[in-house]
Amino acid sequence: MDHKNCRHLLDSLSDYVDETLGKELCDEIDRHLVNCEDCQIVVDSLRKTIYLYHVTAPQASVPDDVRTRLFHRLELDEFLGK
């Protein structure tokens, strides 16, 4: 296994998993992954990491009391009931 390129490819992996990488580099990584089990694991675990923080991210919501105080501060009390 040739690991010389692993570190070099690392910089591109983020774009690679987003599928925003140029075709040439993308092909280079594809070719490398076929023969480099370690890098394949890095790619898989990077994808899994992204999946995990997306599914565990908190909801974008405001607690009721915080919302009430916000609307009051903005003098929007009349709109509180929606």
Binding site: H3, K4, C6, R7, H8, L10, D11, L13, S14, D15, E37, D38, C39, I41, V42, D44, S45, L46, R47, K48, T49, I50, L52, Y53, H54, V55, T56, A57, P58, Q59, A60, S61, V62, V66, R67, R69, L70, F71, R73, L74, L76, F79, K82
Partner: protein, 213 residues
Amino acid sequence: MSDGNKKTEKFSLEALRGGDRTEFARLVEAYSGNIYRLAMNMLSNSQDAEDILQETFIKAYRHLSGFDGRSSLSTWLYRIATNEALMLLRRRKDIEVSIDEPHETMEQIFEPMQIVDFCCLPESELMSAEARDYLDQAIAQLPLNLRVVFLLREIEGLSTKETGQVLNLSETAVKTRLSRARLRLREQLSGYYGERYGPQIKEHGRLPVGEHK
């Protein structure tokens, strides 16, 4: 991905610029959740996050008449909120808080690379309460310059371009920082899962550290 843009389309800029209270209330309703979440994630303190939330919309209301529409409304609100949060961090720490690129240390350049194939773990273990806490901590401990980019791109769902607009960064800088943030989190999770479930998963040791470009 950027649901912010879809929301923006529903607002009448003309009404907002003219100080229409109903339209402004709709704007607050639409974005307060996102702004509050960003502030919580940046400051890890609910009182501070509430202050930022209020300040953001107070400033927005004051300056809406001058909003030029070059960016989307959501990007503009995120920009106000991010700047407010960074200012608060500066005051809180009483030190220079910068999102500029710090000088890289050798440690950063030659970061270890753990090869732990944790993908195959069952969901119950991947997403245990403890694992979620660990991930939250890992995000909270990202260096500020990486964390802000990470939160805007990955948690708030802004595009690379929008994130650049919020932070005055080039798209290349946004991509680089997001990449570093992701790789760091991957590294941390590899360590975490490797330690706990090592025997269950194939552990390969470390990637040989080669020349960094």
